[in-house]
Amino acid sequence: MKKPLLTILKEGTIMNVPIRALGIATSIFWILLIAFLALSAYSFKDLNFDFGEPQLTTAPDGQLLFSLPLYIDNRGYCSLKEFSLSTIFSDSEGVEISRANTFVPVIPSGKNVTIFHNFTMSMDSVLENAEQYLFDDNNLTASVTAGLTFAELLPAQISTNFTFPWGAPFHNFALGQPSFGRFNSTYSTMSVPMSFENHAALDLEGSIRAKLFDSVGSSLGESQTLFFVPQQTSCNGNLEFYIPLSTASLSTANNGHFKVYFFTPLLEYGPLVIPYG
């Protein structure tokens, strides 16, 4: 039997069913979305970050190695993805000195992970930019950025800037007034007091070589001294020069300049010109 073209249907049958289905589907998706957001936010409570004691060591190639342990305890319901930690050290003028990145693809839920954020700093590159870091304390700026994707689809980023005190290894390096003495019939001695403070985070070991030049620029003698200065202590010593006794040298040795060279496993620097007399 053929159905008539204009069938009278029950009230609301034509439109109500799809509209209601649309409404129910939307409500279900809203519930899922809110539940997911609430669960993610609740998981954030059970996420712990902690920093360990930073370790400073020297590499054989004369670089400073900083290692910062980072403990992440993810006791939440969601895993963390694409965890990245980036550190940029720059000097007071904003010139980049060192940069380090650490990346962990996944930190699963319920796991405790220890990450070592390592970065190297070449003393040569520091001194290339400014030699003041050798003799004057300063402040370096560290920009730290940590990013992660929380609960698979909520990327978050935290960033901070802080100043990092830089202790100069040869802080207040100075040579005092020279004092002359007679060594033997052909040589006289010249003793120059030397002092500096090691403000660096490492014990300092090495040698200082100084060349003595008279007022006309002629080399009169050379001296070398070894040192071992623990961190945050001062070093006081003398540089001894043996000057040949001649009329010319005696007349010009009362004033002149020193050329000082520094040798340590971490750095080699020189000459530092210091006048005297």
């Binding site: 029950k10 979305l33 909520l154 990327p155």
Partner: protein, 156 residues
């Protein structure tokens, strides 16, 4: 006279049913918020003012929902329903304009990228808006059918 009394009784019954339904729905929504708020607090507690903003949002949402339930089976139900959906869209647009929340505390700055959540929420709100408009059209069509005498047969 008896019929008028019966009609009045039916109106009172209908209104009280709507009030009870609206109250129950409002209590249920507030209860959900009450249970979810402590879960959201650890994350959103870092962002000043957001919990107060969410609370204000829930209050306005409940008010519009009550109004929509009280005006059930009238065209105003769909007005309030549409207003509620538009309010959700406006709230999302104003609070998460570019999908990211940024806050600073002392020297730290935290950025939370909620773009995906924002996209899904806006899509669902648009679906809700479409649903409200379709319901209003359907309601007006049924009204027109009734007034033109083409009403469908009533149940016995």
């Amino acid at each position: 006279m008896v019929e008028e009394k019966k009609k009045r009784k039916n109106i009172i019954k209908d209104v009280s049913f709507r009030v009870v339904k609206a109250a129950l729905k409002a209590i249920l929504v507030y209860l959900i918020y009450f249970l979810l708020a402590p879960m959201l607090a650890p994350l959103f507690g870092l962002i000043p003012g957001i919990m107060q903003s969410i609370e204000a949002f829930v209050v306005i949402y409940i008010v519009l929902m009550i109004l929509s339930d009280l005006t059930e089976r009238t065209v105003f139900q769909y007005f309030f329903s549409t207003a509620r959906t538009l309010f959700i869209i406006a709230y999302l647009l104003l609070s998460l304009s570019d999908g990211t929340i940024s806050t600073s505390y002392e020297n730290f700055s935290l950025t939370l990228n909620l773009t995906l959540f924002y996209t899904i929420a806006i899509s669902l709100s648009l679906l809700g808006l479409a649903s409200s408009i379709l319901q209003a059209i359907n309601f007006m069509c049924e009204r027109a059918e009734v007034s033109s005498g083409l009403q469908p047969p009533q149940k016995a």
